[in-house]
């Protein structure tokens, strides 16, 4: 893997995480418990879709074969998406969604901070814009985790269960593959083991403030980065891609 193909693949992967999480959050639109939370969630979803657009557009430029952001978003099959399994997990109840956001966003924020200093200007520019959005998202989601964890007995028990259920998807965030290694050596990309140390400390602090227990070491599910997804993913993609598949080239 060399030069531009590393950047194409890496930008696509970053776009996949942003797009799929954004799509999951859009599923929550019109279903939030409060009007203000509704606005916040829709804002955040659009932030992620916006990031996906920038990453895909840049991937298309690096590739140089004329693929647009829409081609990346709507016209790829399931196994070509390389998003983390965590972001494709169903919304579940409010606490499930909040735990998913905290676990992902604390990783994503640390990743973006490193990417703002990477040697590729295209990636670092997008990361610099995204990092501000995600820093606010994490503020919002981690405060909610504290409220739920340190709330009533029921909210505490339910959000602890959410944490236990989603923990097994956090391992692959720190398992480098060839693309991570290439990005690191060629463009000063993230060192995932260093990132893990920071992430564990950040998450442990939030979880402690929420009076929750960190789940212990356990078997971790992986495969998202290799295009092997959980069974939920096909349904998400079917809904998201429906219009372009049914009416190819449709615009409005």
């Amino acid at each position: 893997m060399t030069g531009k193909s590393v950047l194409t693949a890496y930008a696509t992967r970053l776009g996949d995480n942003a797009l799929i999480l954004g799509q999951r959050m859009i599923e929550l639109v019109a279903g939030s418990p409060e009007l203000e939370e509704e606005l916040a969630n829709a804002n955040f979803a659009l932030d992620y879709i916006g990031q996906a657009r920038m990453f895909y557009t840049y991937a298309g430029e690096c590739e140089g074969e004329g693929r647009s952001e829409d081609d990346f978003a709507f016209l790829r099959p399931e196994h070509e998406y390389q998003n983390l399994l965590l972001v494709e997990q169903p919304n579940g109840h409010f606490g499930d969604a909040i735990v998913r956001q905290v676990l992902f966003e604390s990783w994503y924020l640390a990743l973006l901070e490193v990417l703002t200093r990477c040697s590729d200007e295209g990636i670092s520019d997008i990361a610099a814009r995204a990092v501000k959005e995600v820093r606010y998202h994490l503020r919002h989601s981690s405060q909610w985790l504290v409220r739920l964890g340190d709330g009533t007995d029921e909210s505490h028990a339910r959000v602890q269960q959410s944490l236990n259920d989603l923990w097994k998807f956090t391992g692959e965030m720190f398992m480098p593959d060839d693309l991570d290694d290439a990005m690191r050596s060629a463009h000063n990309g993230p060192h995932l083991e260093v990132l893990e140390t920071q992430w564990r400390a950040d998450v442990a602090a939030i979880v402690a403030e929420a009076t929750l227990e960190l789940p212990g070491d356990q078997w971790m599910v992986s495969g998202g980065k290799q295009g092997r997804h959980t069974e939920h993913f096909g349904f998400l993609l079917a809904e998201m891609q429906y219009m372009q598949r049914t009416f190819p080239g449709a615009t409005w």
Binding site: L35, E36, L39, A40, N43, Y136, Q143, R147
Partner: protein, 95 residues
């Protein structure tokens, strides 16, 4: 089952440096941090502000509309209290 509402907060936004905070509206929130977040997400999505204040609505002491004549009307007929005899230079905005 009746739904319990979160407390109401009043939101004040400063649109740019040098101006004062102005009342923008109100939000519901369960605590102060949430009120600040909700105010940000509700009222500054289109780049409207550089600073936000939120305050619990029930912490605001307000004048009574029934007493407005006693409060405000005595000032109306005292023209000498108003600095209307000065020319304001064009360069001065926001006065």
């Amino acid at each position: 089952m009746t739904k319990q509402e979160w407390p109401l907060y009043e939101v004040f936004i400063r649109s740019k440096s040098g101006l004062s905070h102005r009342h923008a509206g109100s939000v519901h929130a369960a605590d102060d941090d949430m009120a600040l977040n909700n105010a940000r997400d509700t009222y500054t999505r289109r780049n409207e502000g550089v600073s936000i204040w939120v305050v619990r609505s029930d912490s605001i002491v307000a004048s009574d509309p029934a007493e407005s004549s006693a409060f405000f009307e005595p000032a109306e007929d005292k023209i000498y209290r108003h600095p209307t005899f000065y020319d304001i230079p064009d360069e001065v905005d926001n006065l």
